[in-house]
């Protein structure tokens, strides 16, 4: 029987992948605006913080272990080398895939290869990713080739291993820090607690800490999943190294803050300072204490939890530095949309699945592979069956997983395609109902127009003039405010309620009153609104003569199309002598007489006055 733990775990990963696949389709079909909560002021969100910055940092395990094993010659950690390189390769792969989602024009991703802009920090980042991904692929090659017929290639790559390893260590040293340089160029955006001239160095040191914790985390979770004895000896050794590395990072960070006279900021009580303290606590302080306790180092569970805490802490650090710590400068609120979480988790899940696949088919851990292959062989021998309804031949073992996983994937995809937003959310402001009949403040947001209702009435012919603007009223009402129907500042409103009409017109028998007897029922042949509402809603208006659709245009259009034609006509009236009446400034103007009268009657609220 297959291992239940790994079966359930992979099922969950497949489900998340299905969700992400659905979101991915919509992201490419409808763009970033629909798929994310990002905006022009917050262009870097979860995807950059987690997938790119976090992915690169998570992959640091690769070079850290390579350095420990091959440069410091600590053979004790050899067993961790192949899994660590695999993790690093997948981490960098995740970065590349994540970028394809996050870039506005993902098909330009190859540009840095051809168009060199050597003054750009991103240029360095792009080249490091490309080169290091290649190097990691070369480092991984022997593992993949070892049990294949391509023995010559295997021997070739094995001989290449050491120089490549050294190249890899160099490149990732460069790259971990170049991500820091990326933030170095925005001193006015990154919050002071995170900003430092030593950001590249800080990123590098923290990547080492994160890499160590990541190797421990990944090693203990795979041994739990495959029910294998954890390599406690190796883990506790790594924990000791990690404790030293973390202490160094902590000291480095504190000295750096001290040198910049920013220590006080840590306790300033702002939410940024609290976030910073929290981040330092879970990423550094807590793990240092725990890794130093012998009791923790002896317990696989405790090590697993501690390394997870530290990993989460450092991922949070990357998200903070590249996103959250910039909110104070942009003053825009950003919280990732669920679709962003789906993509990020989906990429991680896909990496996990590839990791398991390689682990189960290639000698990442030769000993482990033998056990897995023995299990697989027993499963293969079981008797086949046919599915009762679909008449499909069913096997056991991995074929069962094929069915269950594909089912989960497909269901998740269906859910994702149903729920994910299909268009950019309409940016709109609800309209404030204008107050009073004397002077109305028309519109909302920073652009008010002070409309002298009474003067307009007097100038245009007294009570008879109402109909010049009020073209439509709610049934039985007169002079219904425009905002009752033109409800969105920029988007049109549907004012027609089908349900209410069915109820008012006499239930099911009344369909024919509007739709006639023609079949199929279509909207082209439906009775016009004015066919019933001529008397109770419409007035003879010179601008809006008809009423035959259910959508009232946006408030802005309603105002412009109503006010401007009359103003334009009156501007050439010599008696009135207002030649500028047809221009924007006639209404969009501050300091008018109407404004003064209005403000005297309704002094602005304090928070309104504070608005820019």
């Amino acid at each position: 029987m297959e291992n239940r733990r790994i079966f359930v775990f992979k099922g969950i990963l497949w489900f998340i992948c299905g969700l992400a696949a659905a979101v991915a389709i919509l992201r490419y079909a409808f763009g970033l605006g629909a798929a994310t909560a990002l905006s022009d002021t917050t262009p870097w969100g979860l995807w950059v913080g987690f997938d790119v910055m976090g992915g690169v940092a998570l992959a640091a395990g690769g070079f850290v272990i390579a350095a420990i094993v091959h440069i410091f010659q600590k053979e004790r950690y050899h067993a961790a080398a192949r899994p660590a390189i695999l993790t690093a390769f997948l981490g960098y792969g995740a970065v590349a895939v994540g970028l394809l989602f996050d870039l506005g024009l993902p098909w330009h991703i190859w540009h840095p290869i051809i168009f060199w802009n050597i003054h750009s920090a991103l240029f360095e980042v792009a080249w490091c990713v490309m080169l290091y991904l290649t190097v990691l692929a070369l480092e991984l090659a022997p593992t993949i080739l070892e049990r294949t017929p391509f023995q010559r290639a295997y021997r070739f790559f094995s001989r290449l291993a050491l120089p490549i390893m050294i190249l890899g260590i160099m490149l990732s040293t460069l790259h971990q820090s170049s991500l820091g340089s990326l933030l170095l160029i925005m001193p006015f955006r990154v919050y002071p607690l995170w900003y430092s001239h030593l950001l590249p160095e800080l990123f590098f040191v923290s990547a080492i800490c994160l890499g160590l914790s990541m190797v421990m985390f990944e090693s203990s979770i795979t041994s739990w999943l495959y029910r294998r004895k954890p390599e406690l000896d190796m883990l506790s050794g790594l924990a000791k190294i990690a404790a030293w590395a973390l202490s160094f990072y902590l000291a480095f960070k504190l000295v750096d803050l001290f040198a910049q006279h920013k220590l006080g900021l840590m306790f300033a009580g702002t939410w940024e300072s609290k976030l910073f303290l929290f981040e330092m606590l879970i990423s550094t302080v807590l793990p240092i204490i725990l890794y130093s306790l012998p009791a923790v180092r002896r317990s696989p569970t405790a090590l697993w939890l501690t390394s997870l805490t530290s990993v989460l802490g450092f991922v949070l650090n990357r998200i903070d530095a590249s996103g959250i710590s910039q909110v104070w400068a942009t003053r825009s609120f950003y919280f990732p949309a669920w679709t962003e979480f789906a993509i990020s988790l989906g990429i991680v899940s896909a990496c996990g699945l590839v990791f398991f696949f390689i682990q189960e088919h290639f000698p990442v851990d030769p000993h482990e592979l033998e056990t897995i292959e023995r299990e697989r062989a027993t499963v293969e021998k079981s008797t086949p069956r046919f599915a009762p309804f679909t008449q499909v031949w069913l096997g056991e073992g991995w074929r069962k997983s094929l069915r269950v996983y594909s089912l989960l994937f497909v269901l998740a995809m269906a859910v994702g395609l149903t729920l994910a937003p299909k268009s950019e959310p309409a940016v709109d402001r609800p309209i404030q109902r204008a107050r009073g009949a004397d002077i109305l403040r028309v519109g909302d947001g920073p652009r008010y127009v002070y409309f002298d209702h009474k003067r307009h009435q007097d100038d245009n012919g007294g009570k008879q003039s109402c109909v010049l603007c009020h073209h439509l009223h709610m049934a039985g009402d007169v002079g219904t405010p425009c905002s009752e129907c033109h409800r969105g500042l920029y988007t049109p409103t549907n004012i027609f309620s089908h349900d209410r009409h069915v109820a008012r017109l006499g239930g099911d028998a009344s369909c024919v009153k509007c739709h006639g007897k023609r079949r199929p029922v279509d909207l082209a042949a439906v009775k016009k609104c004015s066919g019933c509402h001529e008397k109770d809603m419409m007035t003879k208006n010179p601008v809006v003569k008809v009423f035959d659709v259910r959508t009232a245009c946006s408030y802005k259009d309603a105002m412009h199309k109503m006010c401007i034609p009359c103003h334009a006509k009156k501007a050439s009236d010599p008696k009135l002598n207002k030649p500028n009446l047809g221009r924007c400034g006639a209404c969009h103007n501050s300091g008018t007489e109407s404004e003064k009268i209005y403000l005297a009657a309704f002094p602005p609220q304090p928070e309104e006055a504070a608005r820019p």
């Binding site: 086949p384 679909t390 094929l402």
Partner: protein, 234 residues
């Protein structure tokens, strides 16, 4: 009521279609993969795959089917299948809704003809149910699923007829409309997971039956000989 209708004709409908399309795609892929694995394992690998494939496709042609052994049953089934395939896809009202939803449209059936097909399908379904009851073998072999799907299709067609002819509809319009929508959505949701999957899998069914006889080399030949059909696939 407005909210319920909104949900049923909005997200739920999209979900049903997604499960339908993706689920069918999955079934086809899984079937092909599994058949391949079964073939690899079979003791006797002389499987006339393309012959069987063509043979199963040949059953779509009604004339071939009606020449079979149970003519009346096949005729009832043909009526039902004609309605089931043509009405949902080519009813003018459906096409109009699809055009409004995603902008695609195609030629439609004249209203009178689709009404006729609907009534014929209802008749066919009733006949199928009757034949199922009348025949002892079908009565004992029938499962809950067989009866449930029969009833579900009947409800979907009947409510559809009433939605199109509100005058002859005994129930409030919204109720019958919801019943029709929910019935149709349930069918879409069930297609990939029940025997309705034959809508997509029928070309493979024969191959998988045949393969069953190939696991033990020579098993199929013995059966053929005792059926007096030596030389043909089982």
């Amino acid at each position: 009521m407005g909210n319920v209708t909104h949900f049923v004709r909005g997200p739920l409908l999209v979900f049903a279609f997604m499960v339908f399309f993706l689920g069918i795609l999955r079934q086809v892929v899984v079937t092909v993969v599994e058949l391949w694995r079964a073939y690899e394992k079979a003791g006797d690998q002389h499987v006339p795959v393309s012959f069987l494939f063509k043979r199963s496709l040949g059953w779509i042609v009604p004339v071939n089917a009606l020449r079979g052994t149970r003519t009346f049953y096949t005729f009832a089934s043909l009526l039902f299948h004609a309605g089931m395939l043509l009405v949902p896809l080519f009813l003018a009202g459906h096409v109009e809704l699809i055009r409004k939803g995603i902008g695609l449209s195609w030629p439609t059936l004249p209203p009178g003809f689709s009404d006729g097909l609907t009534l014929a399908a209802l008749l066919g379904l009733a006949a199928l149910a009757f034949l199922r009851l009348a025949d002892r073998a079908s009565r004992t072999l029938g499962t809950f699923q067989d009866w449930f799907l029969l009833a579900l299709c009947f409800i979907a067609f009947l409510s559809g007829y009433w939605v199109a002819h509100p005058a002859s509809n005994p129930l409030p319009f919204t109720v019958i409309y919801l019943v029709h929508l929910l019935g149709a959505e349930l069918i879409l949701l069930l297609v990939p997971f029940t025997k309705l999957a034959h809508a997509a899998l029928f070309p493979f069914t024969r191959i998988s039956w045949e393969l069953g006889w190939h696991f033990v080399p020579g098993a199929g030949a013995k059966v053929r000989a005792s059926l007096g059909k030596a030389g043909e696939p089982v």
